[in-house]
Symmetry: C2
Subunit: 104 residues, 2 copies
C-alpha cells in the first residue's frame, strides 16, 4: 500500500496513468512523448509505477508495452478512503462545533 501511495505522489506519474487510461498498451517511446524530460526519467517513473503494481508491462519484439492496472487504486478507495467517507459528516460536524466553541 505504501508503494501505491508513494507512486501516486508524483504528478508526472499520475499523468502517465492518465495517458494509459486514455489508451492502454502504449510503448515506452509513446509514453515518453510530450514531456520536457528525458526518456530515462520517464523510464524511472514507469518503474516506480510497476513496483507499485499500478502498471504492468509486456515486451513485444524491441518494444515494451504498458498496461494500466486499476486494481490497487480501487483498493485505496475501498479500504482507505471509504473509512473516512463513512465518518465524513460526523467529522465535519465535530470540526464546525469545535471551531465555533469559545473554549476550542
Amino acid at each position: 500500500m505504501d508503494l501505491v501511495f508513494k507512486a501516486l505522489a508524483d504528478p508526472t506519474r499520475r499523468v502517465l496513468l492518465d495517458r494509459l487510461f486514455k489508451r492502454n498498451g502504449q510503448t515506452l517511446s509513446e509514453l515518453c512523448g510530450g514531456w520536457e524530460m528525458s526518456r530515462q526519467a520517464i523510464t524511472k517513473h514507469l518503474a516506480v509505477l510497476e513496483d507499485a503494481n499500478l502498471v504492468a508491462s509486456v515486451k513485444r519484439g524491441r518494444e515494451k508495452l504498458h498496461y494500466l492496472n486499476p486494481v490497487p487504486i480501487n483498493e485505496i478507495g475501498e479500504r482507505w478512503i471509504g473509512k473516512y467517507e463513512r465518518g465524513r459528516l460526523k467529522a465535519l460536524a465535530d470540526l464546525k462545533r469545535s471551531l465555533e466553541n469559545d473554549d476550542g
Copy 2:
C-alpha cells in the same frame, strides 16, 4: 491535489490521520505519543497535513488541537479514483487479452 497526494505518501502521516479519525481534536502532545520519533518530526508531519488541508488546527490556551478534514480525501475518491473504477473491468479485460495474445 498534488499536496494531498504527497501528504498521503508518508506512512507516519497516514497513521496520524488514522489516529485523528479514531479520536478527533487531539493535542500535539497526544499525537506525539507512541512514536520512536521526536516531537519536532511529528510537528512537521502535521504541518504537511495542514498544508494539504487534511488537518485543521485550533489553539486553546497553550495547547493546539487537531481536527481531521476528510473532504480532500473524499475528493480524491470522487475525482480521481472513480475515473479508473469506471474503466476497471474493461481495462482488466484488455490486459488479459493483451497478455494472452501471441503478438502482445
